[in-house]
Symmetry: C2
Subunit: 195 residues, 2 copies
């Protein structure tokens, strides 16, 4: 069984990876990069700290450009991030994975695949898609705190989600990413607790 | 941490129980009974076969009666089953559980708590609710087949979901439960594989 987890190094995607491992799979942790900035390094270090295989998936910069078009037009990140995530999953489903997973959870609004989009993906691509939709943030925090050591980091650099390259591209175009994405802290997984 | 899983002995509720166990919890498996028929026995045996603590939760027959009112009126089970499930969760949330889980999955239409109902439950009762909404039936079958031995049984007796007592009550009222619930087979978990 070939299992892929879209991985940012954060607690959500680390948790779905651990669930899959405990269910007897050997998931590969995948971080996507669009060639703008080497934002995959934190995710790579997190994956290594947990003993998972890490894969860097390089996708066409065009996807990020289109997402940023939407974000700049909306002056709000949600539609653009959602677009990028769905393109990433579409691309990933062309590889030979039996299961594709991500760490989206019940209280995430974007990125989020609708049930129809999931059904369509599974049927067209003969793949199974799973996420953390059954879990709220409180339960995810509770379980993640049992398993993982964290480091708190500013969201603009030491992090591997789409936001980092999106910010770069927005600034490159002469807009101010800090006005669209308020600065916030994110926790990155840096290893297991109690092992 | 006090963790309760609403448990029927089927693969879905067995899987969420195993996930919780692998996440370091010691969930209690709970089957609800309304005093109409001892439908909890199969779930009790399944729970024992997996080494979990089993709790029989006896609730007011009135809940089942109201659910059956709806089913007979609709000549269709969905609304009544949904009503019963939500009443059960409401009752369970009055006990001292930190987490309440059930085996409802992505492709279940009923019973199913909406996101607003979950948020309201979690806020009002200071409890965390989780389910298998992130998983489709293919992935659940795949994982359940890794872990569990099954027995296929007719859905009308050797089973512990709400349907058994609902059927009894419908028949008791002089209606034909077999016309509302088409007979089908269900798999019951009877132990672990490879152990």
């Amino acid at each position: 069984m070939n299992v892929a987890v879209l991985y940012s190094g954060g607690k959500d995607s680390s948790l779905i990876a651990i669930i899959l491992k405990k269910m007897g799979f050997n998931p590969k942790l995948i971080n996507v990069n669009f060639g703008i900035f080497k934002s995959y390094l934190p995710a790579m270090r997190s994956a290594e700290s947990l003993g998972f295989d890490f894969i860097l998936l390089e996708l066409d910069r065009e996807i990020l450009e289109k997402g940023v078009d939407m974000i700049v037009k909306d002056n709000f990140p949600n539609n653009g991030i959602d677009y990028i995530h769905k393109e990433v999953i579409k691309n990933l489903s062309d590889f030979e994975y039996d299961i594709i997973a991500d760490g989206t959870r019940r209280d995430d609004r974007v990125p989020k695949l609708t049930k129809n989009e999931i059904r369509s993906l599974e049927d067209r691509k003969n793949v199974q898609y799973i996420n953390l939709d059954g879990f709220g943030y409180k339960t995810i925090d509770l379980i993640a705190n049992k398993f993982f050591e964290f480091k708190k980091e500013k969201s603009n650099r030491e992090n591997s989600d789409y936001e980092v390259e999106i910010r770069y591209l927005i600034d490159e175009r002469g807009f101010k990413s800090c006005e669209i994405f308020p600065e916030h802290y994110q926790t990155r997984v840096v290893g297991f607790k109690n092992r």
